[in-house]
């Protein structure tokens, strides 16, 4: 379209640059702080340009927070959550879309309602369940008298116990249920023409074969989109790991480590706050998901827009 709007174009650029500045300034300041020495950061005037201490600060922050194993942990948990969520979303949606059975809608709604129960609002009892993931079954068996029955018949006391605290399973399992992912997959499966299913059946493929040979290759875009947002989601988990992991040295995740870096009376003991190290650590922790979002921008945006509706 031919349109000459020089003034508006200048205004557009000005507004967008202003917006970028507002968004970048806080992180820029954090970055600058991470490049100076303790003294330079804590003395007026404030530095606005990077110094030369970035590398030493990063190294010190890395060692101080013991980031090595924590990055490995975070990577393990994030990968676990991503793979788990995508797998669960895919197989659940597959069963819901390609099989007919009573109670299909009931299951759909059961999954849907979990959207209204975010982790934050059921945090205390969820923690209690994580301490023994089999406690629901124990309670049910006790209440219905099955435990008593077993105890009387066989003499075995039923005591189901599966402690998830301080384990990768405990970090991953409660996070892998996914209503949004299931819906995204369901949307996608509903666009698969009936005839494709029939052609596969005529070709002799059963349900699992059809899922593996046809649907999964076709849902590559879906997988990429889901993987991106789920990775960011998993990496940035804070509250849950804060609770289930008390053994930080073995199972700690990097984002949780940030809570130890808040330079207050507790951490500095009244000394000069170590902002240069806190900011260096912050940069290290936030970098991987940012890289993913920037490089997978297309998938990320698509995943975000399609999962939330």
């Amino acid at each position: 379209m031919i349109e000459r709007t020089p003034l508006l174009n200048i205004a557009t650029h000005l507004i967008l640059i202003l917006g970028l500045v507002i968004i970048l300034v806080p992180i820029w300041l954090a970055f600058v702080a991470a490049t100076h020495t303790l003294q330079a950061v804590n003395s007026a005037p404030v530095e606005f340009w990077p110094g030369d201490q970035l590398w030493p600060n990063l190294k010190e922050a890395w060692v101080q927070s013991d980031f090595g194993p924590k990055f490995v942990n975070t990577l393990i948990v994030s990968t676990g959550v991503v793979v788990g969520k995508i797998t669960l979303a895919c197989i659940t949606a597959f069963a819901l879309v390609f099989f007919t059975f009573r109670g299909r809608m009931l299951i759909f709604w059961a999954i849907f309602i979990t959207l209204m129960l975010p982790l934050e609002v059921r945090i205390v009892p969820t923690y209690a369940v994580a301490a023994n993931a089999l406690s629901p079954f124990q309670t049910i068996m006790d209440a219905t008298g099955i435990s008593w029955l077993i105890a009387t018949l066989s003499g075995v006391e039923v005591a189901l116990e599966w402690n998830l605290l301080n384990s990768y399973t405990g970090l991953i399992l409660p996070l892998v249920a996914t209503a949004t992912g299931t819906f995204l997959y369901r949307q996608f499966f509903l666009t698969i023409p009936d005839e494709l299913v029939e052609a596969a059946r005529m070709d002799g493929a059963g349900p699992l074969r059809f899922l593996w040979d046809v649907l999964i290759p076709l849902s590559k875009t879906n997988i990429a989109a889901l993987a991106t947002i789920m990775f960011v989601y998993a990496w940035n988990q804070y509250l849950w790991p804060l609770l289930v992991i008390t053994d930080r040295a073995t199972y700690g995740m990097v984002v949780v480590q940030l809570s130890d870096l808040v330079p207050d009376q507790l951490t500095t003991g009244g000394g000069t706050p170590t902002w240069h190290l806190a900011m260096a650590a912050t940069l290290v922790v936030m970098l991987p998901p940012i890289v993913i979002v920037i490089f997978m921008q297309r998938w990320f945006v698509r995943g975000l827009i399609n999962t939330d509706k």
Binding site: M1, E3, L8, T12, H13, I15, L16, G19, V25, P26, A33, V41, V46, I91, T92, F94, A95, F99, T100, A110, M116, L117, L119, E120, V121, R122, I123, V124, A128, A130, A133, P136, L173, P174, V176, A177, T178, V197, R201, P207, V232, N236, Y238, V255, L258, S259, V262, P273, M279, T282, V285, M286, P289, I290, V293, I294, V301, L304, I305, K309
Partner: protein, 293 residues
């Protein structure tokens, strides 16, 4: 719905089981547990629980600290939502003009989505720090005027700005997607009718964004109730004087620091109802996202 289906078999059951088990154990059971605790008095170290009816709720609702928490949660929700959506909308409309470099602008606005909430909190704690950040300037002019750890309104302002900063990207992505799905022919028709770019923004784009706008409004408010934990925990720790004790934070603090399971459960139930109401509104009234299709 679909005419070509496989017959239900053990395969389907096996495919459904994992997710159903997980949501039962980690969603429904804890929620039921919260409900149970909310109506009973539970000793944290065992010893049974007694039915107390609405006592826990009465206690919570007559607690001035709880109402303080509700008040600041509402302020936080509204303020972050208004700031974030206002900024996101403005930026999206101008990015949508697709002038030179718009891809760079887009990336520049989107990336904060990927920053973890505690990292945002920590970075902003530095920015707002009275001794080291840019606000130390203010304190050299008026010593002691700016201190997050002393003045409640400053602490609230800080979490609002940090929260809004984090939310901009999300709203921006949705606004931009909605703008870009406006059919090109519509814009061209408006241009043929003589509408210039600014005019088109007002007459075409804004009205067509209404559904997205309402959708984001609800989502942002819901998120601000649940996702604020990381920011508060690293930026203010709920203080000073409980000024930033948002509802989620208070549940966490009461449950895990105060071991008041029943009080925390009652608060959880209230927050759950709030989230459910908002989700319901979203699906019931904000369902149709785009009204030109």
């Amino acid at each position: 719905m679909r005419r070509a289906c496989f017959k239900f078999s053990w395969i389907a059951a096996a495919l459904l089981a994992p997710q159903l088990l997980i949501i039962f154990i980690f969603f429904y059971w804890p929620s039921a547990q919260a409900l149970y605790w909310a109506f009973t008095l539970e000793q944290p170290w065992g010893g049974g629980n007694t039915w107390v009816g609405f006592d826990n709720f009465t206690k919570v609702l007559s607690d001035p600290y709880y109402w303080g928490s509700v008040r600041v949660s509402v302020i936080y929700a509204l303020a972050t939502t208004v700031i974030a959506m206002g900024m996101a909308l403005t930026l999206a409309i101008f990015v949508d003009r697709q002038l030179a470099g718009y891809r760079a602008y887009r990336v520049g606005i989107i990336w904060p989505y990927a920053v973890a909430a505690p990292a945002v909190g920590l970075a902003f704690q530095f920015v707002f720090n009275p001794g080291a950040g840019i606000f130390s300037y203010i304190n050299t002019i008026a010593p002691g005027w700016w201190d997050l750890s002393k003045y409640p309104w400053q602490a609230v302002t800080a979490i609002v700005i940090a929260g809004a900063w984090k939310q901009v990207a999300y709203s921006f992505i949705f606004f931009l997607a909605a703008l870009q799905s406006i059919p090109r022919s519509l814009t061209e028709a408006a241009a043929m009718d003589g509408a210039r770019p600014l005019r088109r923004m007002v007459d075409m784009q804004l009205p067509l964004l209404t559904p997205t706008f309402f959708f984001l409004l609800v989502i942002n408010i819901t998120d601000s109730f649940t996702d604020s934990f990381g920011i508060v925990d690293t930026l203010t720790g709920g203080g000073p004087f409980r000024a930033t004790d948002l509802m989620v934070y208070k549940i966490y603090a009461d449950g895990f620091r105060g071991f008041d399971y029943s009080g925390a459960a009652a608060q959880s139930i209230i927050l759950m109802l709030l989230v459910m109401a908002l989700t319901f509104v979203q699906f019931r009234y904000v369902e149709r996202r785009v009204h030109y299709t």
